[in-house]
Amino acid sequence: MFVVVIIVYIALLTLEFISLYQKKYWKDLWVNLTLGSISFIIALMISFHLYIPSPADPIKKIVLSLFKI
């Protein structure tokens, strides 16, 4: 499964990066690279069935403690 993830990400990144590189938009390139690496890490974690903490739980806890539903 993770092989598919790696291939898809390489394809996506080259697709996006070449045009940004040719236009010399360095800032766009860096932001894109950061977002891409975050999503790549999450994709790998999902493909290895690792547990990723959900942001919904802390919000739920805070709201429940504040309003006592």
Binding site: D28, L35, I46
Partner: protein, 368 residues
Amino acid sequence: MMPKEEITQKEAICLLINFIMGSTLIVGIGTNAKNDAWLASLFGILMAIPAIIIYSRILQLFPGANLYDIVNLLFGKYLGSVVTILYIWYSFHLGALVVRDFGEFLNTITMPETPMLVPMFSLIIICIFAVRLGIEVISRTSAYFFPIMLFIIIIVQLLSISKMDFEYIFPILYYGLSPIIKEGFSAFAFPFAETVIFLGVLGSLQPKKSPYKVYFTGVLVAGIILTFIVLRNIFVLGNQLSNFYFPSHVAISRIHIGDFLQRMEVTVAFIFVVGVFIKVSLCLLLTCKGIAKLFHLNDYRSITIQTGILMVYLAYILYDNIVDMHFWTFYVYKYYAFPFQVILPLIIFITAEFKKRKTPKEYNKSSV
């Protein structure tokens, strides 16, 4: 620089209606008020009116500017960035919630064996395309689909008359006013005040068109359609309404006319897909514009793919199961969304009015 994108008033109204009806049509509003859900829906519209007056006033003060321009102009560099980050998170999270609704719906109703990531990715690919093409394309799509949606809703409404039992609406106010107020607040937070997203979209409205008209027409028409749908669900399902995760789907699946008119629930799925597409596209658009504004990028289009994929991952890890999702949507979301929907717009509104009075000349120059 590309020429500024413009949307007409009619397109903006259709966009707003589609946005509100998006995931609400299928998840339903005010279901916990049982057979008073329609009153809760009306109460939600009533509560939404002050909020949309504030949103329209903010837009009217800054013609042609979107949410992030306004925030940066009002609060300066640092505080403006903080508010920008908050709204990026809100629109990103809202998009993820809607994607999850979609995935959960397809997973529960039609494709239980398919992994949930598959429908989610199918949806987000179209949304990424739409966002890269720009707001004009999204709004024209919504203007094109809106009459079809309205036609389907009316036809289904008429067909389900045979299954309706008008007694189900009684007794009115059996549980008192408190569930209606609670559910009205829920209805306010879930579809109507989510239109705060349009602060970032209606900056592209044609000049000299009033945002008041767009907001009022859109919210009222969508609210009336939703109230009729809630009434239909009550007439068909009675006070069992709150037992279902997708009441509209269950209500319509009961239509059997003769031997040939049945399985009408696909029509609901069609409307739902169109609505969800519009909603997710707008959330994704606003997130990308926010990130582009925050880092001073040349164009928001280059980051749409990565942001869209991240949105799907967030939607995927958000909840463990549908019960969790239902609880979050109906009990937690209204409190969580309140700062973004009411408090921050109120602060923006007060600051804008104050600054406008103080330095009218300089201010008008910078806002044009």
